[in-house]
């Protein structure tokens, strides 16, 4: 066999091997888009997808990383346009998204009602915020600190105590840029809540206007600018959730806001030491929330996506959310095993303040960059 024959033969064989895949691709996998952090993506790839493949070997799933919430917004806009023109949106499900976006999506019937998903009655009523979204996991921002430098009894429990602690310990606190990760983002939002009567209900997806933003946001910028000289490196901001944890792990800072799921995972993996303390503010908790999956009503694989959605609510996946991801379950705790329920009794949240995405999110992020980030003098 000369080289030419070998090439022809081997490419034919390779082509044949590909053939069944191609015909399978015509049926198509469920298109799931995820805008969350890497640990959530890992959770899907390493836990949910293998379990789902075992339970439903006939349904394929493709999870694509959309980068962040804005990536998802662009796809949702396309989905709405596809609904109007009756074409395939090439998306079936979002890992987590706010169904109030894009504007007019609900009225046009873009999203599937959560009641269509089998098992939706098991969802924790605390977690429900709309008829069109399916909360399947939750997490909240906490303050993580090095308990060897700061004894647990002295850890700040209110915003005032936190500010006093930051100023008394210059250089020992860092938070990340609000658009690069929710831990710093929700710290900024907590400052906004602080100057607006600690009332999370003052902000909704619908009530954004430039006038409201011009009135409600600048006091928070003043508050944060006032903190800047006492932050790490007189006002340096980490470029993501993980970078904050890295600074904490390297012993550079004593305290940083962190996502509950990421910090529990970091402690489990030994990235952060066992002596890491966790504390939540008691006057008003830092924001957090449930991740709400949304399903496209016009998706090409809607029925398969419904099966996947109801699979997310099974005891198997909901318990994995706690044990593997370090998050809160989306279903009521009665639907989980007794052992888990008792073990995590302390972290079961009573309420979780939230902050709307959409226009407010944009105004907060850009406002922070323009007003808080540059006003530092490093000398």
């Amino acid at each position: 066999m000369n080289r030419r024959h070998f090439l022809i033969a081997s490419s034919t064989v390779a082509g044949l091997a590909l053939a069944p895949r191609l015909s399978f691709a015509a049926a198509g996998p469920i298109d799931v888009y995820c805008g969350s952090d890497k640990n959530v993506l890992d959770f899907w790839n390493n836990v949910i997808l293998p379990a789902f493949a075992k339970a439903h070997p006939d349904i394929a799933v493709k999870v694509t990383d959309a980068g962040n919430n804005n990536g998802l917004r662009a796809i949702a806009d396309r989905g709405l346009a596809a609904l109007a023109s009756n074409t395939d949106p090439q998306a079936d499900m979002f890992e987590t998204f706010d169904p109030l976006l894009p504007k007019g999506g609900i009225e046009a019937g873009l999203w599937v009602k959560a009641a269509e998903v089998k098992g939706h009655e098991r969802i924790n009523p605390l977690a429900i915020d709309s008829d069109y979204s399916l909360p399947y996991r939750g997490s909240q921002v906490l303050l993580a600190y090095d308990a060897t430098k700061l004894p647990a009894k002295d850890a700040p429990k209110t915003w005032e105590q936190l500010v006093a602690w930051i100023k008394a310990n210059p250089g020992q606190f860092v938070y990340n840029r609000p658009d690069k990760g929710g831990s710093g983002g929700n710290f900024v939002r907590r400052a906004i809540h602080e100057v607006n009567g600690r009332d999370p209900k003052a902000f909704t997806v619908g009530n954004y206007s430039e006038e409201a933003a011009a009135k409600m946001l600048p006091p928070a910028w003043e508050l944060l600018k006032d903190l800047a000289p006492s932050l790490y490196e007189k006002g340096a901001y980490a470029s993501g959730n993980t970078q904050s944890i890295q600074l904490l792990a390297q012993g550079v800072v004593t305290m940083a806001p962190v996502w509950s799921d990421q910090v529990l995972q970091a402690i489990n993996q030994g990235v952060l030491p066992e002596t890491t303390g966790l504390v939540q503010l008691t006057d008003l908790a830092l924001c957090g929330g449930f991740a709400h999956s949304t399903l496209f009503s016009n998706g090409a694989h809607k029925d398969a996506a419904l099966t996947l959605a109801s699979f997310l609510l099974t005891q198997e996946i909901q318990e994995a959310v706690i044990t593997e991801l370090g998050g809160f379950p989306g279903v009521s705790w009665d639907h989980l095993s007794d052992a888990l329920r008792q073990k995590y009794a302390d972290v079961i949240p009573a309420t979780i303040p939230t902050f709307p995405s959409g226009d407010w999110e944009k105004a907060v992020n850009d406002g922070w960059y323009r007003n808080v980030a540059p006003t530092i003098s490093r000398t």
């Binding site: 980068g67 962040n68 804005n70 990536g71 917004r73 840029r177 658009d179 490196e233 340096a236 901001y237 980490a238 470029s239 970078q243 890295q246 600074l247 390297q250 012993g251 550079v252 944009k362 992020n365 850009d366 960059y369 323009r370 980030a373 540059p374 490093r378």
Partner: protein, 276 residues
């Protein structure tokens, strides 16, 4: 005819992937779509950029970073290139391999490696601490973070191009100068440098083009504000959902790069004219 067919594909790709996007970006920013979709001449987005202190600070830090990196690259690259030009043997080969090595390291890996080494409480700090010396002020999250990363990342290209430029200088002319008693410094100033002008210019324009549009290193290592143009454009486009201003920033960046591109094109053209 055959020649034309052969270049048709690259020219088509150039037109489709480079010239067309540039023209469309310029047109879309000069004739932005209004509320009702109609296009009208308006330079408002440019006026905004040049009257907005935040945007100008970003442009300024980008120019500063580019300038500092350009100077540092020549200062670091030229001695290595000179050494490689005039030495032979195994050790020179090792030096060359070391100088080329950064080319094969992706910048995202470099960023995290730099955080672990020269970042706060990183390897360098640990070594200093073990020797009883004070810690270094860390460049992480300051404008010097991206400078260090970018110089490291762009060094191979600089060294390669400078070595190629030095290759054009004949051994005979160097030896002639030595024979009449010129010391190494005199040889460098009187013989080598005058004949290097062209390759220095080409090297500098390449480095500048690469650094001006850098994204990963300033994103991970740099401060939150001022941002370099790369991260700024990305944030304007995806976070603020503001394609018009992102395009304007891109056109302005392109304008600055164009100046250095012209230097490069001019020197290439002059080179070709000079050939018989």
């Amino acid at each position: 005819m055959v020649g034309l067919t052969l270049v048709a594909l690259p020219v088509f790709l150039l037109g489709w992937l480079i010239v067309y996007p540039i023209l469309s970006a310029v047109l879309e920013t000069v004739f932005p779509a209004g509320e009702n979709g109609a296009r009208a001449l308006s330079l408002a987005s440019y006026r905004f950029f040049f009257s907005d202190p935040y945007s100008l600070a970003n442009l300024q830090v980008t120019l500063w970073t580019t300038l500092v990196c350009g100077v540092l690259l020549i200062l670091v690259g030229l001695p290595i290139a000179l050494y490689l030009r005039f030495s032979q043997g195994r050790f020179a080969a090792y030096v060359q391999a070391m100088a080329i090595f950064p080319m094969f390291v992706p910048s995202i890996i470099l960023s995290y490696a730099l955080i672990r080494t020269i970042g706060p409480n990183g390897t360098v700090d640990l070594i200093l601490n073990a020797l009883g010396l004070p810690k270094l002020p860390t460049p992480y999250l300051t404008p010097w973070g991206p400078v260090i990363g970018l110089v490291w990342d762009n060094l191979p290209l600089t060294v390669l191009m400078l070595t190629a430029g030095l290759g054009q200088i004949s051994n005979a002319s160097v030896e002639a100068a030595r024979d009449v008693g010129a010391g190494p410094f005199r040889v460098f100033l009187a013989v080598i440098l005058p004949r290097m002008a062209n390759s220095l210019l080409v090297t500098a324009s390449f480095a500048v083009l690469g650094i001006f549009s850098a994204f990963t290193l300033p994103y991970v290592l740099g401060p939150a504000a001022p941002e370099m143009m790369g991260p700024f454009m990305d944030r304007t486009f995806s976070d603020n959902n503001d394609p018009l201003n992102a395009l304007t920033q891109a056109v302005i960046s392109f304008g600055f790069c164009l100046v250095f591109g012209l230097f490069y094109v001019r020197s290439i053209a002059r080179n070709q004219e000079g050939r018989p």
